[in-house]
Symmetry: C2
Subunit: 321 residues, 2 copies
């Protein structure tokens, strides 16, 4: 599979979602229109809108409200990235300069805030109070997870539970919100809303584990950032956690995770983690999440969109980007 | 008038609003519970919840939803202050250390984001899509106004329209949102919803003009910040605008607004602005807004809450804090 499954089925809808995102008011304020243009032009995989759109087609319920929902979810994601890049002092995202690379911290904070408000407005355009709750609860989970990470325990004490919670907050919560909210708008039965939320949740867990694995196995050219960028920043992801479980006395671990290592040392550690089977163990877990996502689809309407969602889960663990 | 009119009428409701604000989820994340506690303990005048509560009583429509609305409005205000203090590098607010004074910028940004999400959740608790729209649109206006200010024109080119837009975005928009949303929840007729929005809007304009005047006439002890703190930061408020209109060739203006002045020079300029009648001119405008706020109340139910809202408008131009 080279292209994202389901993408071709909803390509016309995705164009509407892009237009919707650009409808933000107050674009007479120049920095806002420039920021919106920069952020939307630089693209992204649009996985979250894709999920919402596939669910709505599964129930043959595409509407302006679903387009607004898909735009809301992607805009929320975009707003969190604006603040994340500021917090991490990241200079590039998807090969383009970040907002904080070209603007003051203050302007970057405010632009992110504006995009949160625009995302909330798009969510309100669904005219569903329940969707508004899903939306606001998800943003609380995302921010709470990031704050928890800033005040995290020492790397040696981090557990699998810490990791699972963190990637749920970071990624799976918004995937789950996209599929759940689309099911709510489709007026699906409660049991199916729950199943679709589970699908999004499990898919998101798999997606983030693979993201964390790619940080070890991808080339820096593919990833647009140096190999091992997580360990360089002291972040313990699943491969490191597996390696740590069996090699807690490796002195390189402490050196790298505590920020005292040069590039050569980082590369040696990355090679050791690859060779120790930690990548295979992590990918095994990702595949388990994929199986659970696919299992959640049983009992949902059987049509081309169902198949696309099934294939999309498979794709998540096969992707290289 | 020494106490805020209407406050005694709703003091029990305000206790409920405080409790409601503290109901934020995820308080097992220690930095979040600490931040919430710090921010809510340090208090504030709670003018925005007061407005929502008075409007609801005017229509005898107090409910859990109104308590949630009042909490949402104050939480939104609190979240914007967290980011504002970070952007301005303010160390103190109401005599207490700001979050950015004790935490990293990253933790401060994320805490503000969390509070925005909690405010959105409180707004969703009104179960009114229309209130959600008012809420998200107001946040866009606030952020847009602040961004506009960061990229503002040179001080010499600033107009009264720039000033009016800025204080609408900064203050009047949220006052108007509080009164409008409470009227919506009260199922008031559309003409009365509009009148109540106007009341909040005009009151907010007066409130902010007085705030800007107090920066010139209050003592630093009363205000908790040095006299003339706006001009020190290069911000042109209404008294400066009036002074500038008649004394555009005063060399001290350029010196202070461009940040090249010591304390003595700032104090001389502040004294000149006071003596030039600029304060009186600004207060005259504030009183006009008060009259318009009071006029908007004509035709609304005549009860003790109506009178309190009338008196509250008067109080806004008499206050010293």
């Amino acid at each position: 599979m080279k292209t994202i499954p389901g993408l071709a089925l909803v390509s016309a809808d995705l164009v509407r979602v892009e237009h919707k995102m650009r409808e933000a008011p107050h674009q007479d304020i120049e920095p806002l229109s420039m920021a919106l243009d920069t952020l939307l032009k630089s693209g992204g995989k649009r996985v979250r809108p894709l999920l919402a759109l596939l669910v709505s087609h599964l129930y043959d319920s595409l509407s302006d409200k679903v387009i607004a929902l898909a735009a809301a979810v992607e805009m929320l994601h975009t707003a969190t990235l604006v603040h994340d890049d500021l917090i991490d002092s990241a200079r590039l995202r998807r090969g383009n300069p970040t907002l904080n690379a070209i603007w003051s911290p203050g302007a970057t904070v405010l632009t992110g805030d504006f995009l949160f408000a625009w995302a909330a407005n798009l969510a309100a355009q669904t005219e569903s109070v329940r969707v508004m709750f899903i939306f606001s609860q998800t943003l609380m989970v995302i921010c709470g997870g990031e704050l928890g990470q800033l005040f995290h325990r020492p790397w040696r004490d981090q557990t699998r539970q810490d990791y699972d919670r963190r990637i749920y907050a970071k990624t799976a919560s918004l995937f789950a919100a996209a599929t759940e909210a689309a099911a709510v708008l489709a007026s699906a039965p409660e049991s199916k809303i729950k199943a679709l939320r589970d699908y999004g949740h499990q898919l998101g867990m798999a997606f983030q584990i693979v993201d964390d694995v790619l940080d070890f196995v991808g080339t820096s050219k593919e990833m647009g950032k140096p190999v091992g960028s997580d360990v360089r920043q002291g972040i313990v992801t699943l491969p490191t956690l597996y390696y740590l479980g069996q090699n807690s006395d490796d002195k390189l671990l402490a050196q790298v995770l505590e920020g005292h290592a040069n590039d050569g040392v980082v590369e040696t550690l990355v090679a050791r983690i690859r060779e120790a089977g930690a990548i295979d163990a992590a990918m095994h877990d990702a595949r388990n999440h994929v199986k659970q996502a696919q299992a959640a689809l049983a009992g949902l309407p059987g049509n081309g969109y169902h198949q696309a969602m099934f294939d999309l889960a498979e794709f998540v663990v096969q992707r290289r980007i």
